[in-house]
């Protein structure tokens, strides 16, 4: 009798747990719009060095990039502390690249955000859609749960 009760209890418990888990579950791909939604990289393998203040609105210079794979240097407008419209894009190969000049177009804010994205879609084509950021191929690298990006003030 006791065994039966235990068996029933286990079943009910499992059922409840499953119901909880099943009902609470959301498809995996929908989980990345918060927190880390790009590619996780070790700090030693992904680095971005860029001067925080630069002159001019038509280009900026990234002093050094270390990428674990082929990547993109992407420049966005900074709108309310978040990335806005993309204003610059340069492809870099895996490894270290230095003194990279990124042409800018349509800069309308004092600050821009420089980020490093992976090139995981069609090689040489920037496959990234802000509307579907979490499911785009060319998402940014994350180091220590933070996006590999810097804010640059353009004077």
């Amino acid at each position: 009798m006791r065994r039966r009760i235990i068996a029933v209890a286990i079943t009910v418990l499992a059922f409840a747990l499953l119901a909880l888990g099943g009902c609470a579950a959301a498809p995996a791909a929908e989980s990345g719009d918060m927190g880390v939604w790009g590619y996780v990289v070790a700090a030693k393998n992904a680095q971005l060095e860029v001067a925080p203040q630069q002159q001019g609105h038509t280009s900026l210079v990234v002093e050094r990039v270390l990428a674990p794979e082929d990547a993109w240097i992407v420049v966005h407008l900074e709108v309310d502390g978040k990335p806005g419209m993309r204003v610059g894009l340069v492809h870099v190969t895996k490894g270290e690249s230095t003194i990279i000049s990124v042409p800018l177009e349509g800069v309308t804010t004092p600050n821009v955000i420089v980020a490093v994205h992976a090139d995981r879609g069609t090689p040489g084509t920037f496959d990234f859609d802000m509307e579907k950021a979490t499911s785009s191929f060319d998402r940014p690298f994350f180091v220590d749960e933070k996006e590999l990006a810097k804010v640059v003030a353009l004077n």
């Binding site: 068996a7 079943t11 499992a14 059922f15 747990l17 499953l18 119901a19 888990g21 099943g22 009902c23 609470a24 579950a25 959301a26 498809p27 995996a28 791909a29 929908e30 989980s31 990345g32 918060m34 927190g35 880390v36 790009g38 590619y39 996780v40 990289v41 070790a42 393998n45 992904a46 674990p68 794979e69 992976a118 579907k132 499911s135 191929f137 998402r139 690298f141 749960e145």
Partner: protein, 894 residues
């Protein structure tokens, strides 16, 4: 071989106990030249051979029987065991010198006396074998096996019981053997073993099927443990915080140790893949195997549905993991793994619960004694129960079990027979009384001569009978079979339809926001998978057999042997019960009921005179007079000049007095005036009593003695209860109407329900007349002269008292001669049928509710799997509740 030149031969064979023995003998003989068919009958102890006499080698036949381990018995060779002796196997007859005629042990059946059972025609020669089946999961599986066996040439019928996990096959041993049957079952994707009848007293561990099932269960337990260990992390990963945190932590660890860039979403998918793959292909392999075998036979079963359901979830997830275009799609590894885990859990719980449904059989088998104390060579020695042979003198001491059946020869005691009969009061046993194996001696020691051992004992017969009943199919099962036959294809069709509707139709009618979290394809896949899984008809297949198993087992516990599922089901429909009078409603033995004295006479003297005369008579009523006189301590003097006057009575001189004892005609013949007693005589006769008058001195009446067959104590109570239950109660007897109505009145049976003056051979016609009125009729009789009526009735209820004839006759055997058990049998039947209906409700309820819910996309596949597993468990548990059945008129309480 030309059938016209063939003849049938029959040989008596000792030592066959079961189907396995029959098969061993049959296989040995059937391989001989000239033999076209062999039927071994363990019960009758005979082997019937269809063969060409010009080719058949008698010595080879005998050799084959001996080689199989049995003993052919030629006429005149039967060895009657002496006390203390062990019967040695009778040797095969010695070869006959050329030209010499010998008494061949094989007797052409054509020459057998009419009273001897004659073998059936060759075309009807059949063997029956029971196979233990392993690996069935649902009624579709049992149907696959039934179909597979049924289609084999030479097989005339195959019945598979899902709950008992047995298959009974009637086949022609000349066409195929047991190995062929087992091979066919194995080819169908299941395992089978020859089920050896478990003779009472054998250790349960020797049950090959149980060992195989335990092995199977242990394997399932290991698979479940593995599945659970791998599925629980998958379940945990469904919790949002863990869903984000764990893949991120793993991705970070990989980035730090391996290098490169890691997508947590993909890491999540890889974790799912790593955990789900062993579950899918190790634990879930059994479903693929079952699916494959079902597919080969163009049918479907539970495996089909589980394999389709889990595969659709698993392989879609594989695509979402490795096809770049689908990288953004979600995966459902946890669905596949949890589904398999739940199904295996359900199977384990179900197997555990199913095991309990045969508890009654196990309990019965456990009753048998393991050893016996027998007298051999003048000494009492303890031997294993298997070594006791017919004729052994067995010694039983206080508190010991009676090891086998026999007849008490020395000593007296009280024996508790409650374990077999349900009767709680110990039964007095004296020399000449039968004792039953497995009953418990209470006080006193006694010796008895063994009359039945091994598979012939009452306990072994009861076990066999209950096993057969539990393996039989009730007609109501056909309902489940019909549904199951079309269920799997219908479900797959419904699932495909659900998928297509969700994929193409639903998107036309819903807002785009509906697909914010999942694409139409994903939603269609989930809904279709859930339909496949929730609709599995496993519970449906268990609804009837589990209830029948518990019901028949419960009957056996109460001394009611229900011989088939059909009898159990029919008893539920009974509208009329016909009771035989003598021996059924009444004790069947006349007793003295009244004594009337003439002036100047006393009771003891009247009985002394009457009983002294009747002691010399063989009339049935005489025994009642003598027994009464002895019981009241009357000494019976010798009689001089005794004479019996047919149709009148008896006369003689007792203690110097001329005495006439008989009916009115005898008194009139002697000129004795009985006018003073006429009124009283008429009154007693109207009560169904037989009045006998005692005349003394050839001139005057000393008194009269009335004798009658009295009603059993519980008959009236049983009749009243049956009437309240809405069953019309009839009494049938060969007695005249006045006597019959008198007894019927005492029993509470209305005069218009008395079928009087019916000869035994016409009883069946009376039953048929009631049936013609549209009544479902049960006949209750003692199973000997009522046999045709028992057979004619919809349910024959034999008041068994353990006689072989009673065990053979009717669908239900009452071990005790207690009519209250008739009530209990009907109550049990009604309870069982109620339970079957409840089970159908549970089983179909899950499916009928589950399918639309799943089709509407409201049920995740893993939840559907859990619901499906729970449905089987709930049905078996529901059947187990029948174990709480308590008779309203328990004779145990008496």
């Amino acid at each position: 071989m030309n059938a016209i030149s063939e003849r049938r031969f029959r040989i008596d064979v000792e030592g066959m106990h079961c189907h396995s023995c029959e098969m061993l003998v049959s296989q040995g003989i059937s391989a001989l030249p000239g033999v076209s068919a062999v039927v071994a009958d363990a019960k009758a102890g005979t082997v019937t051979i269809q063969a060409d006499p010009s080719v058949l080698d008698v010595d080879a036949v005998i050799g084959a029987i001996v080689a199989a381990g049995f003993t052919p018995t030629a006429e005149g060779m039967a060895v009657e065991p002496a006390e203390g002796a062990i019967v040695a196997p009778a040797p095969a007859p010695a070869p006959t010198p050329a030209g010499e005629t010998r008494a061949c042990p094989i007797v052409p059946a054509d020459d057998v006396a009419p009273a001897t059972p004659v073998a059936a025609p060759a075309s009807a020669l059949t063997g029956t074998v029971t196979l233990g089946l392993i690996g069935m999961t649902c009624s579709s599986c049992s149907m696959v096996i039934e179909k597979t066996l049924g289609k084999m040439p030479g097989v005339s019928s195959a019945t598979v019981n899902l709950a008992a996990e047995t298959g009974t096959v009637v086949f022609d041993p000349a066409v195929l053997g047991v190995d062929d049957l087992i091979g066919a079952v194995k080819n169908a994707g299941y395992d089978a073993i020859l089920k050896v009848e478990a003779v009472a007293g054998e250790a349960p561990a020797e049950d090959v099927q149980r060992i195989a099932q335990q092995k199977h269960t242990r394997k399932e337990q290991r698979l479940f443990a593995m599945s659970l260990v791998l599925s629980l992390p998958l379940l945990a990963l469904m919790i949002p915080s863990l869903m984000m945190g764990v893949p991120l932590a793993v991705a970070t660890w990989l980035a730090n140790t391996v290098g490169g860039a890691w997508d947590p979403n993909m890491v999540f998918k890889y974790i799912g893949l790593a955990l789900a793959t062993p579950v899918q292909f190790i634990a879930g392999w059994q479903f693929y195997r079952g699916f494959f075998h079902a597919l080969k036979r163009r049918t479907g079963n539970m495996d089909t549905l589980i394999a389709i359901g889990t595969s659709s979830a698993y392989f879609y997830s594989i695509a979402a993991t490795f096809v770049p275009a689908l990288h953004a799609e979600p995966v459902f590894y946890e669905t596949a793994a949890l589904l398999i885990t739940f199904v295996i859990l359900g199977k384990l719980l179900e197997a555990r619960a199913k095991g309990k449904t045969s508890d009654a059989i196990k309990k019965l088998m456990g009753l048998a004694a393991k050893t016996a104390r027998v007298v051999r060579g003048g000494e009492e020695i303890d031997v294993a129960i298997e070594q006791v042979v017919v004729g052994d003198v067995v010694v039983v001491r206080p508190g010991e079990k009676v090891p086998v059946d026999g007849v008490l020869t020395d000593g007296r005691s009280s024996v508790d027979e409650s374990m077999l009969t349900g009767e709680s009061i110990p039964v007095e046993k004296n020399a000449g009384d039968a004792v039953i194996g497995a009953t418990m001696n209470t006080l006193g020691s006694f010796r008895f001569r063994a009359t039945k051992v091994g598979a012939d004992t009452a306990l072994a017969q009861i076990v066999k009978l209950v096993e057969d009943a539990q393996g039989s199919k009730a007609p109501v099962q056909r309902f489940a079979d019909r549904i199951s036959a079309v269920f799997v294809p219908a479900v797959v069709g419904a699932a495909v339809l659900t998928f297509l509707v969700w994929l193409f139709a639903v998107p036309q009618f819903v807002d785009a926001a509906f697909y914010a979290t999942a694409t139409p394809f994903v939603k269609a896949l989930l809904a279709g998978t859930a339909v496949v899984v929730v609709a599995c008809p496993c519970a449906l297949g268990l609804a009837t057999p589990t209830a029948i198993m518990v019901g028949t087992g419960k009957g056996a516990e109460n001394g009611i042997l229900i011989k088939s599922g059909e009898a159990l089901e029919t008893a539920y429909k009974l509208k009329a019960i016909v009771f035989d009078k003598t021996g059924t409603l009444t004790h069947g033995k006349p007793v003295v009921t009244d004594v009337e004295l003439a002036d100047g006479h006393d009771t003891a003297r009247v009985f002394m005179l009457a009983a002294a005369l009747e002691r010399n008579s063989e009339h049935p009523l005489a025994e009642a007079i003598v027994l009464h006189a002895k019981a009241t301590g009357v000494d019976l003097p010798d009689v001089e000049g005794f004479s019996a006057i047919p149709g009148h009575g008896v006369e003689g001189t007792v203690a110097g007095t001329q005495v006439a004892f008989g009916n009115r005609k005898l008194m009139a013949r002697d000129g004795i005036d009985i006018s003073r007693f006429e009124e009283r005589i008429a009154a007693l006769e109207s009560e169904g009593k037989t009045v006998m008058l005692v005349g003394v001195g050839g001139q005057k009446l000393a008194g009269m003695i009335a004798v009658a067959d009295t009603l059993k104590e519980n008959s009236r109570e049983a009749v009243e209860r049956l009437t309240k239950m809405g069953v019309e109660v009839f009494m049938i007897t060969g007695d005249n109407r006045r006597t019959a109505e008198a007894i019927a009145s005492q029993a509470g049976i209305a005069p218009d329900h008395v079928l009087a003056e019916v000869l035994p051979e016409h009883k069946a016609e009376e039953v048929a007349k009631l049936q013609a009125k549209g009544l479902t009729v049960a006949m209750v009789g003692d199973g000997i002269n009522d046999t045709p009526a028992l057979a004619q009735a919809d349910v024959g209820i034999a008041m068994g008292a353990g006689t072989d004839v009673a065990m053979e006759t009717g669908g239900i055997v009452l071990i005790k001669n207690d009519l209250r058990d008739v009530v209990t049998a009907i109550e049990l039947s009604r309870a069982t049928m109620r339970k079957i209906r409840q089970n159908f409700f549970w089983a179909l309820g899950y499916n009928t509710l589950g399918i639309p819910v799943a089709a509407l996309g409201l049920l995740r596949p893993e939840l559907a799997g859990a619901a499906m597993a729970l449905s089987s468990v709930s049905v078996v548990t529901s059947s187990l509740m029948l174990r709480r059945f308590k008779p309203s008129m328990s004779s145990k309480a008496a």
